[in-house]
């Protein structure tokens, strides 16, 4: 068994990989071992995995319903206890149950923004970088204009126009968060554009679309992923901020930001109503920050420690 593991390791760390697959796996293994050495990064990974599990098994974990009101005479604004770990809110609902169910909304926001903004940025950046000339100038000017905007206020204005709601909040955040990805993808593309292997593909007669999609984009993906992970915390905080202002998820949805907003009225006497969702936001954001730092250090050893 141990012998087996050792041969595997030797195969992965081989200086002379025999196949492309072995080289690729070997590189992934090296990145993984750098990542696994970093205790904080592992903590981040653990937090994110925990978030995933909580979101999937929310119904089993939460002891009460997240949205139906409790008994307003007996269960309203109770402090934390063995019955209600995080206490209850002004509608008599169990806050622990609401926090647990809120993880789904957070995950929904994070995934949706990543799925919308990252490909848009990737596409714009690679096209600008590969095409060069006026296409590059125009696309980058637009990107710069978006970068120069106040993101939160702009998202606010978008939501104000589209109407409050979680989907509109996601769209607004996505609209304001693609520019950094475009910048990164363009910078990577510029370094790749004149690489010999790209020239070779071009000589074979591949179309620009094919070159971008098959040969350039895959190489930009890892740096964009790192940046997206590092941005996740910011996206969660923005979404929670919109929720706090009443522009994100609408009641009775257990969105963490909106929960803090409703707890605001009681914060001086029943602090736990606002405390728990805030801690939840903090822990998840922290998880993404630690994970992002760890990924960056593992995938780009040069930038490590900076």
């Amino acid at each position: 068994m141990t012998n087996d593991a050792q041969t595997w390791r030797a195969w992965l760390t081989s200086e002379r990989p025999a196949s492309r697959r072995q080289a690729r796996l070997g590189r992934a293994y090296a990145a993984w071992s750098r990542f696994a050495d970093n205790r904080l990064a592992m903590a981040g990974l653990f937090i994110i995995l925990a978030l995933l599990l909580v979101a999937v098994f929310a119904d089993m974990i939460a002891p009460y319903s997240a949205v139906t009101d409790g008994d307003l005479r007996t269960a309203r604004l109770l402090p934390p206890s063995a019955m209600h770990w995080f206490g209850t809110d002004d509608q008599g609902r169990d806050i622990f149950a609401r926090v647990v169910h809120g993880s789904r909304i957070t995950l929904f926001v994070v995934i949706l923004v990543a799925v919308i903004a990252a490909p848009v940025g990737l596409l714009i950046g690679t096209i600008a970088g590969y095409a060069g000339g006026w296409v590059d100038a125009v696309l980058m000017r637009i990107t710069d204009i978006f970068l120069a905007f106040p993101r939160l206020v702009l998202a606010l204005a978008f939501v104000a126009a589209l109407g409050p709601g979680i989907v509109n909040a996601v769209i607004a955040i996505a609209i304001t968060s693609w520019p950094p990805y475009a910048r990164i993808a363009r910078a990577e593309t510029l370094t790749l554009r004149h690489a010999d292997y790209i020239n070779a593909v071009r000589l074979i007669g591949a179309s620009p679309a094919r070159i971008i999609a098959r040969h350039i984009m895959p190489l930009c993906v890892s740096s964009v992923i790192v940046r997206v992970t590092l941005d996740m915390a910011g996206i969660i905080l923005t979404a929670a901020g919109l929720g706090f202002l009443g522009l994100g998820a609408q009641p009775p949805s257990p969105e963490w930001g909106a929960m803090i907003a409703s707890g605001r009225r009681f914060v001086l006497d029943q602090w736990w109503v606002a405390a728990a969702p805030g801690v939840a936001i903090f822990v998840v954001s922290l998880g993404f920050n630690l994970l992002g730092d760890g990924l960056r250090d593992a995938l780009d050893p040069k930038a490590a420690g900076q």
Partner: protein, 355 residues
Amino acid sequence: MALAGSAGAGGRRRARLRSTAMAVARFLVVVALTYLGLLAVTFFIGRVIPVDPVLAIVGDRAPSHVVERVREELGLNLPLYQQFVIYVGKALTGDFGISVLTSNPVMTDIRRVFPATLELATLGTLIGALLGVPLGVLAAVRRGSFLDQIVRVIGLVGYSVPIFWLGLMALLVFYARLGWVEGPGRIDVVYEYTVTPVTGILLLDTAMQGEWEAFRNVFGHLILPASLLGYFSMAYISRMTRSFMLTELGQEYVVAARAKGLSERTVIWRHALRNALVPLVTVIALSYANLLEGSVLTETVFSWPGLGLYITDSLQNADMNAVLGGTIVVGSVFIGLNLLSDLLYRVLDPRTRAR
């Protein structure tokens, strides 16, 4: 020979002047384009809004000829590009329309509330820069030390904690439980009419008029939200300072400075920091802009009567003129700060000057 030399120098000076003028011109075009982009986006937002602005004014029971007349008055029957041209013209003169909520021109409202935001964000940035830069420098110099770990934690928390939540908790602890600071708002009602607004910056107004009791009250209200913003600014600035300093401390000129026999203090603070300051200026300007924007959340928590609260209040009441006017003002400040940091960059880095 001498003549030819001086003519050459004059020519060089003229060429340098021309290239500077070109740089300035290009720069202004970029600023203008960015501003136009900002207006295009707000214009677009104002048009996609599902609420018909005409019905919002006349109500949905108005007879159709009234609706038509108002539509014409608002210029809504013109082609879109003409509407945009008019929109840009108005925005450039500071005409953002009338606020439905206050019935004042939006610009008048903004002029009234902006100093409160400015006061808060400025103090926050001051706190953040004055603490963040030295902390970042020391963290880079003593890399891996306990202090470095602390700076790392400060940064991580600052990047992860929701500002509005931390504000609420700070109010709970420092105002409600400990009673160290004043509560929400900018000044107690008792003092509200003892000072006449001159600058709108209450710390200055009360100090200039010698109202020291009111000054203390204003300070008591200001210190908590300003420290909070200062913390977030510090988290960002210290992290960036550390990273820039690590880069600079690895440079050869640092070895040369040490080889000259300079003290470590001179090497770090005069040589390395002066170089790190060049990119740091942009970071500090960006952090200032972020605080102005973050005021939307902070001011709600602290009931701070500034631009952020104005925007959110208008949002709750579907007052789109006010929301978009506020957005444009915040965006203009962003563009202005970008411009300023670019200019400062040129001043601080001789390599970008006179190229």
